[in-house]
């Protein structure tokens, strides 16, 4: 049976990229779910743009009594305190990113291009200017991991030769995890590394505008 990966499974796949001691920023949406899947024995420090590092779990709806308003992440979610966490100002927070101290950023996106460009802050007709921290994150992080659905709900392609939406950054994506594939942007082009169970490279190619290069060790998504 050919199913798409659930958001949880996508997040689980992304969390495999985290190493012990990594400083990781998680964007709102699917990326946020990664926090739940940190492998045993790995201490990953989450960083939030508004000035927090190494904080604890996100408070779920059924634990709302635990909410303290001074423990909020960049996406507006409340977290629990944790031993070893720290707070700092927004200047140091963005300094941390641009200065090379953020190991991984996981973000959602609207579109990713053949060269690893990405667009995630504006869609046509939007009168907002919602740039926020995305441009800094994709510039500064050592690894940029994008998590997104491979096509839109109405079937439009999102992995494109060139992004048509305003860019967040050029040639910045290191790994793209979608609900049907894991793709690595390289200088030669997009390399298909893993596929969702039941999916073939041909089927994934059909939903992808640029030509995919098949990895020598192309395999089913390993979790």
């Amino acid at each position: 049976m050919k199913e798409k990966l659930s958001e949880d499974i996508m997040a689980l796949r992304a969390s495999k990229e985290f190493h012990d001691g990594d400083v990781v920023n998680l964007g709102v949406g699917i990326p946020n779910l990664c926090a739940t899947f940190i492998p045993e024995g790995r201490n990953v420090m989450f960083e939030s743009e508004n000035g927090a590092l190494g904080y604890g779990g996100i408070i779920m709806v059924d634990e709302f009594e635990k909410v303290e308003i001074q423990y909020i992440d960049a996406g507006g979610r409340y977290f629990l305190p944790k031993e070893g966490m720290s707070f700092f100002d927004m200047g140091d927070s963005f300094g941390l990113m641009r200065g090379g101290r953020l190991d991984i950023t996981c973000l959602g996106a609207y579109q990713v291009s053949e060269t690893g460009d990405m667009a995630n802050w504006s869609i046509p007709g939007d009168t907002s200017i919602g740039i926020g921290g995305g441009m800094d994150l994709v510039y500064g992080a050592k690894r940029v991991i994008v998590l997104m659905e491979h096509v839109t709900k109405t079937g439009e392609l999102r992995v494109l030769k060139e992004c048509t939406y305003p860019l967040t950054g050029k040639e910045c994506v290191n790994l793209l995890i979608t609900d049907i594939a894991v793709i690595e942007p390289t200088k030669k082009g997009l390399v298909l590394k893993e596929y969702a169970p039941g999916w073939t490279a041909e089927e994934i190619q059909k939903l992808t505008e640029p030509k995919l290069i098949l990895a020598d060790d192309l395999k089913e998504v390993e979790l």
Binding site: I69, G76, N120
Partner: protein, 270 residues
């Protein structure tokens, strides 16, 4: 030396029409709520508001006061993130005229990192500087581009607001400040950047009660302090209580916890 001002009205009384005012807006706490209210009350016009996030909040004013309410008094916005109020048009308590005002507002939005870096340059009395962030995006439009060592940068100018509204957790009368949790955020940068820095604080302590190594903002950066009445509107305790009142309503709980941003965006995120 005593920088305590008895009321918020007095603390903002000399702010003239056309002034630039910088303030923190990220999360429910950490914003100078009573200073914003005093400025609205005063009706000061043609303001340039400088804040990292400018957006309508679906929370009623009784829960939280945000810079958005100053829109009718604003000429210009300088921000890192701007979400159009029209996105919230479906909510009940957004005044329709705000959507129109927002359209004609002059806006300079350049992402969080470039935004805070401009304030830091202003705070430190530095001149323009080159940033590597925004190259290849709309942010580079209309800005000087230059290559150093094979790498492209855009030129940004410092920001030194006429007034900084700072929200702190504790202060002594000299103006030494500490912050709590993510309420810190932009506040220490603002305290340094403002030509005049006005602080709204929850707790006044005696000089010496804050350990000299733990003070985040040294007294030199602070001009005026107004102390929030414990438990009164805008205080940490009050906002916390109001938030938990809302959280106790099962229907709104999901919208408040963790979905603040989903309400803003259709899909994806940054």
């Amino acid at each position: 030396m005593n920088k305590i001002i008895p009321s918020f009205e007095e603390a903002v009384a000399d702010i003239p029409d056309g002034a630039s005012i910088a303030l923190n807006n990220w999360g429910l706490a950490g914003g100078p709520q009573n200073l914003i209210l005093a400025l609205r009350e005063q009706g000061t016009k043609d303001l340039t508001i400088i804040t990292q996030n400018f957006m309508y909040t679906p929370f009623p004013e009784e829960v939280v006061v945000m810079p958005f309410m100053l829109l009718p008094q604003m000429k210009k916005l300088i921000a890192g993130f701007f979400a159009a109020a029209s996105r919230y048009a479906y909510t009940t308590n957004l005044p329709a005229e705000f959507v129109e005002m927002e359209k004609v507002l002059e806006k300079e939005v350049i992402g969080h990192g470039n935004f805070v870096a401009r304030l830091q340059a202003g705070a430190r009395g530095m001149g323009p500087f080159y940033s590597p962030v925004g190259i290849g995006t709309v942010v580079e439009e209309g800005r000087e581009k230059r290559t150093f060592d094979g790498k492209e940068y855009i030129l940004l100018t410092p920001l030194q607001p006429d007034f900084a509204f700072v929200r702190a957790d504790k202060a002594d009368k000299y103006g030494n400040l500490t912050y709590n949790g993510t309420c810190r955020c932009l506040n220490p940068v603002l305290a340094m950047a403002g030509k005049t820095t006005i602080v709204e604080v929850d707790e006044l302590v005696e000089p010496g009660q804050l350990h000299p190594d733990e003070i985040v903002t040294p007294a030199a950066f602070v001009d005026r302090i107004v102390v929030n009445e414990p438990g009164a509107r805008g205080s940490y305790e009050y906002t916390m209580k109001k938030l938990h009142e809302m959280l106790s309503i099962p229907e709104v709980r999901g919208a408040v916890i963790g979905q603040a941003k989903q309400m803003v965006k259709e899909e994806g995120d940054n």
